[in-house]
Subunit: 167 residues, 2 copies
DNA sequence: AATAACTTTCAGTAATTATTGAAAGTTTAA
DNA sequence: TTAAACTTTCAATAATTACTGAAAGTTATT
């Protein structure tokens, strides 16, 4: 396999994996492209490489910047804007975990809290609803906390040692 | 908040959360309904409660059974089939983690391996592609392993102690 | 202050994904 | 073995989501 093929394979795989970490295809592909690029790219570069429209590129770059995954960089002597992504995978994971937690998991925990605190009228079905939503709330909270703690370890000694412990 | 409202809130929240654990809305809602139900439900029950068609119910129940989350139960004296879901959240998490790993993460790791093992022709861009995809492969593998190990602990002493350790 | 270089917005459209419902299929009971 | 009770399948359609491209907006240069 040659460079070009490998590059395309990486970008398309990472793109279709976007759903796993909660972002859309174009967003994931732009991030992938920047991730393996040796220098910052302009909007024009990205459009041409991924064959997507200017509007699409602009919108998705914005979202990536909202997530804190991509940043604008100024290239001296150039009028247009250039973009680059976080290159360190640990830091990338940290950002993604934090954002997903904030955007999706925390709101769900809030709803589970509300639901599980309805008045217990003593009926079977109410008891079951309370019991099950409480259990789900606990689990969601534990996994959320754990994920955040893990990826937060800048030096990943803890992750490594936990992994070793468990093998 | 009364039972009915709480129930609807739980089902719709869990449904829209489906994307987070990789299944579609109807699938997640059916699972949610079964999860808080005190007894197994028939296809008819599910259709009526969630206001979805027979076909949709049938297809999504099948998928839930494929995942191993929902099982058929025979109710004596009844001709039709009844369904129930795994009620233990730990076990549920274990199944979901295992399935997602198998369906999505493992195949990605395979591609990352292929891509990162292209011939190093010494150019900058090739070196960058190899370096970055290798880093991503390591991280993906670590997180996958960790997640599986964690939810695999039937008795969750390890999870608890790791959580405590990290707080 | 006019113009060129560039970016953003958004209505329209395309692509994708989910849902319906009725016909075909299957199982059980009489 | 027939018919009723039930489930599955799948082509058609609806709903959702993503993408385009051109016009409007912004910023820098002369």
């Amino acid at each position: 396999m040659q460079y070009q093929e490998a590059k395309e394979k990486f970008i398309s795989t990472w793109g279709s994996l976007g759903s796993l970490w909660g972002i859309n295809k174009a967003m994931a592909q732009i991030q992938a492209l920047l991730f393996i690029s040796t220098k910052p790219l302009s909007m024009e570069d990205i459009m041409q490489d991924l064959k997507i429209s200017r509007g699409n590129t602009s919108m998705n770059l914005r979202q990536l910047m909202d997530w804190g995954i991509v940043t604008k960089v100024l290239v001296s002597g150039e009028r247009k804007e250039f973009f680059t992504t976080e290159k360190d995978v640990q830091e990338l994971a940290r950002i993604v975990a934090k954002e997903r937690s904030r955007r999706e998991i925390k709101p769900v925990i809030k709803v589970l809290d509300e639901v599980s605190s309805i008045k217990n009228d003593g009926t079977e079905k109410t008891k079951e609803l309370i019991k099950q939503t409480k259990a789900l709330r606990e689990l969601t909270d534990d996994l959320d906390t754990l994920m955040n703690k893990l990826v937060n370890q800048k030096q990943n000694w803890l992750t490594k040692s936990v992994l070793k412990l468990m093998k």
